[in-house]
């Protein structure tokens, strides 16, 4: 058990607990907080995987922007006595499906022989930049347009009519 595995295990455990927390907390702001933890810990996991640039992006975008968005939405849709979890009314089909899903996924993960790492990654930031602006330039530009469209859409959707 080398150190990095232990560190990895701890990080993952906390992340998973936080994810469970998103579901379980009755108070939705706490759930949002848990979400924040999940995002941040996913970023840490990226660091484990030697993807520094992505880790930064993750924290910036997700933990930084998405969580804020969620909090704003919570603020604008507040009601008294809003409950989070379905409780006993879940039924039998949903847990069973989820169990089946996890079993299948674990089957794929553990029974299939994966491979040893192939080699060292180059410095990712530079490499990412190169790929993004040469090979994937079209997708990059399309993404920009998509973001613009999303921005306009959300602004338009939620504006109140001016009297």
């Amino acid at each position: 058990m080398s150190l990095d595995v232990i560190a990895f295990a701890v990080t993952s455990a906390i992340m998973l607990l936080a994810a469970i927390g998103v579901i379980k907390f009755k108070e939705i702001v706490r759930a949002a907080l848990m979400l924040f933890f999940v995002f941040t810990l996913v970023g840490v996991l990226f660091l484990f995987m030697e993807a520094e640039f992505l880790a930064i992006i993750q924290v910036l975008v997700y933990a930084g922007a998405v969580v804020i968005l969620v909090l704003f939405a919570i603020m604008l849709t507040r009601r008294e006595g809003a409950v989070g979890y379905l409780g006993e009314r879940v039924g039998v089909l949903k847990p069973v499906t989820v169990l089946a899903l996890i079993s299948a996924l674990f089957y794929f993960v553990f029974r299939i022989g994966w491979f040893a790492p192939k080699g060292e990654l180059h410095g990712t930031t530079k490499f990412l930049g190169q790929e993004l602006f040469t090979k994937y330039i079209l997708q990059f530009e399309l993404l920009a347009i998509l973001l613009l469209a999303a921005m306009i859409a959300s602004i338009y959707l939620v504006r109140r009519e001016v009297q």
């Binding site: 089909l93 949903k94 499906t97 989820v98 089946a100 899903l101 299948a104 794929f108």
Partner: protein
Amino acid sequence: MLDLRPYAYLIPLLPLSGFLLELFFGKYTWRRGGIIANILIFISMLISFGIFYNLYFEGLPYTEYSWQWFYPGIVLGVVVDPLSIAMCCMVSFVSLLIHIYALGYMDEDPSKALYFAETVLFTGGMLGLVLSNNLIQLFIFWELVGLCSYLLIGFWYYKPEAAAAGKKAWLFCSVGDFLFLFGIAVVYKYMFAHGEPLTFSNIFIHLEEGVIPPEVLTLVAILMLAGVSGKSSQFPLHGWIPDAMEGPTTVSALIHAATMVTAGVYLVARTFPLYLAAPHGMMIVAILGAFTALFAATLGLVVNDLKRILAYSTISQLGYMLSVLGVGGVVGAYAVGFSLYHLISHAFFKALLFLCAGAVLHGLWNTRCIYEMGGLWNKMKVTAITMLVGSLALIGFPLTAGYFSKDMIVEAAYEFAVSGDSTLAYLPWIFLTIGVLLTATYTFRAYFTVFTGKPKTYLAEHAHEASKIMTTPLVILAACALLFGAVQKPFYHFVSTTFDYLNLAHLAEMGGNHVAHVAHHEHAHVPITIKFLPTVLSLTGLGIAGYFYYNHRIDVGKYITRDNPIYKLLWNKYYIDYLYKDIIVERIVVPLAMFVDSFDMYGIDGVVNGIGRITMSIGKAARKIQTGDIQDYMVPFLIGIGIIAAIVKLLGVS
């Protein structure tokens, strides 16, 4: 003279087209309809007589023309031979006269164009029937004339009796037609490997080879006789004609005197070789015809409706025509000649009688009971005289056409009787002879009651003669009834050559008939007393009728009351109608129909509706899946992902 034989198909086609023309445009023509019909029938008549001239005076050969139809071996065809052409001439001529008469008779009727459309359709159908050269086409026209009969009997459909009578006619005919069709099917079954299966000439040629076994021939003969009974109203399917008198009198004249009812006789005449070759076939026909002749004559004695008397007389005379075809076993091909001769002369005088009756009814505002008439001799001279001529012809008074035809029949029946080998063979002759007496009696009972004596009612006192357009056909028909006798011998010679192309002697032997002289009949050896017996009997009958009814001398009602058992039997028509309606229909057919109907309603509809209901209930249950809750929809979503992954794994897609 131009060879008209290839144009024979125009003879039925013109009146048939007249149907559509009258139907759609008749009401715009002169006096609201009828002119087109008359013109087309006149042209048909000209063509018929033209072809007759071709065949008889120019001696052009007999022929037939056929065109392939919907199935190999089934043809549409016209046969041009003496039998068909004689019928064509008669049908078109008499039909034309009746149509002219109807121009006057139906003048005030609001549906005049429709009437003429139906009668011209009927004429076209009849002409098509006699010109058909194969069984299936004949059957089609057979049904067509049956349909027109139904339409025309129930012409005044708002009268419930008329509608019921039309229905009755159709039902009786249908029973016969069904069996007839069955007979055609049997013929087809045996013949379909031998050329055109249903064409007459082909069937007859193969008869000699024994393609159809003898028992089957008898079966076919009986089945076709069923059709004949329906159409020509022989026993037991005779019941529709008396009721059919509910239709206009011109309809009765056209359909039930001259043309449609003779279709049955024509069929037997046309298939004469088949009846010759069928064992016992001739005997059955002879006895059936003779029995019906007697049977109907007895019923004619008690009926009080003028048209009904004539109706029973029609049935009776048809029996004569049929039985002479049956006794033709002894006279060979001449039987066809005898029968057809009587058929044509009967057409003349029966149509004449019906038209006269129509004139009487017209003048008396549709009174039909003879006891409400009387003394019309002074009021309607022309009608009275022509009706007298017709009646005399009907009873076979010497020198009228009826005399020549009817006597010949009775003589032939006598020959049959003496040459037959069983006592059964005497029956036709006995029946026919008694029938002569009765015919004379009831005919003149009617005549004297209507035309002599004092008028019984107000209407009878103020009767008037019919218009020129109605009396002219009467005079023409009377002349024919008188003069047709002159052409007796040539007619026989002419018609009997129809079947020259077959070996009738051989066929007759196949059927077990003794044939004295097959092709050319010389007057056989009939004792003088027998020869004159019919004449004596008819004059006796006339005398009896005159004794009782001339000037209404004796009130027969005093001697024969309503309770007299014989009277009751005859009045109820031997309870046959009762048998059919109350017993067969009520007790057997109706429950059967109800059972079938309920099977259809609950069984078949149940299955069909049940399938619909099952589908609907499945739908009702299945739609509960759509809860509207999106989280419920995600479950199948995830399951689907799993399945796709499994498939990808299984297929080993890299």
